[in-house]
Amino acid sequence: MTTPPARPYEGDEQPDTDRLPCGAPIDRLLDQVSAGTASDRTDHQEQCPHCQAALAEYDRLWTPVRELAADDVKAPDSLLDETLRRLRSTTSDPTFASIPGPDGTTRVSARVIVVTARETAQDVEGVRIALGKIVGPEARSPGDPAADDENQSDDSLIGARVEGPARDDGPRVVAGVAGRSTAIEITLAAQYGVDLIALGERLRADVARRIGTVTGLHPVTVSVVIDDVFT
């Protein structure tokens, strides 16, 4: 049985395109190999030894290119962290929460709380993107009457009392105090169509639980601002 001669390639490429002896354009074959479809031959290729040989060879040569593309390269954490730390230093919130313990005090930066809240919120189903921030007494100016009673006993104290540096040194963060202005605020864009009230409740619970676990500042007030919905 003899194989019928392959029909000449009929395509729409420019005449100056490099071609195999059968007339098939090389760029089309490389496209095919690059797309990983070298084995999906056209009618012409099924009959053409030139195309079959070229496809096989290009596919073999292209294998390490695919492997290189599939290499899951990650930016070194230390590299980015250092760069961002330097950039943040110009804008960062310098406040710390201090959690007194029997053998000393644990200081937790406001950033830790914010990042924990943000990352937790980001994982809640229905949240497309989220940001977090601490809102609280740091926004108050010195002499603000609301700030003067921070050290007083408060019946509404339901969590760990957390203090930042002395007032002269800067703002304070008080977390876990109900009825006060200190709170975590999550601003987010949600997936269109989800029950936003339920989303807010779920997010509030998850964030409060996570912050409690990670920082000991438990519970905290979590405000949820649904800023946008994405379709």
Binding site: P21, I26, E67, L68, A69, K74, A75, L79, L80, L131
Partner: protein
Amino acid sequence: MNDGPSSPSGSSLSSLTRPTGSSDADDQLIGATGSSEQMSPDGAGGLDAQADQWLVVKASSGDPQAMEVLIRRHRDRIYRIALRMLGSREDAEDVTQEVVIQVWSVIAGFSGASAFTTWLYRIVVNRCISHQRRQRPTRPLSEGDDPSTPGPENAVLARQRVEATADALARLPGPLRSPLVLHEMEGLSYREVAAILNLSEPKVRGRIYRARRQLVDDLQDWS
């Protein structure tokens, strides 16, 4: 090493075809006033373009957290493009840092005329081009150069082949390398690459084609 099938007609791939005869101009930095072409709805590589846009608006209005989240979402791709463009981890790290600082500094000036990713990757490519211009023409030592690399022979050979590919990629002329990296390594479409490089789509196709040809010829020499 050459244990694969022989090339068609038993000769080099180059000999199968007529020479292209064309050459590229030197690397040119890509202008900021590029196409307003948008990336695909899901964004490059499946990233959420809507979320990017939301973060950009907040970052542009001075929210440093939004800026940081934005950069973290794209950091691996910034680094990966730089690594494939430059062929050296040290250079890629330098460029990544430069890009992060530049983006942080100028995000407020981002007009939104193009997708954020288009704007960002244009910055990365431009930084790579600038970085290469400043560099002396030395070839960095790659992992594949270490003859004492342990492991089974096949794994070592496969790794060396990938390293050789990375080196061959880095040796491509800049005008060919940029579109090939963005298309083959990052999976961007011709249209997206054209938007990033501020070129027409046919020109991008032509450059990618020539880059592929040069790459397979180089790889054939290696194997």
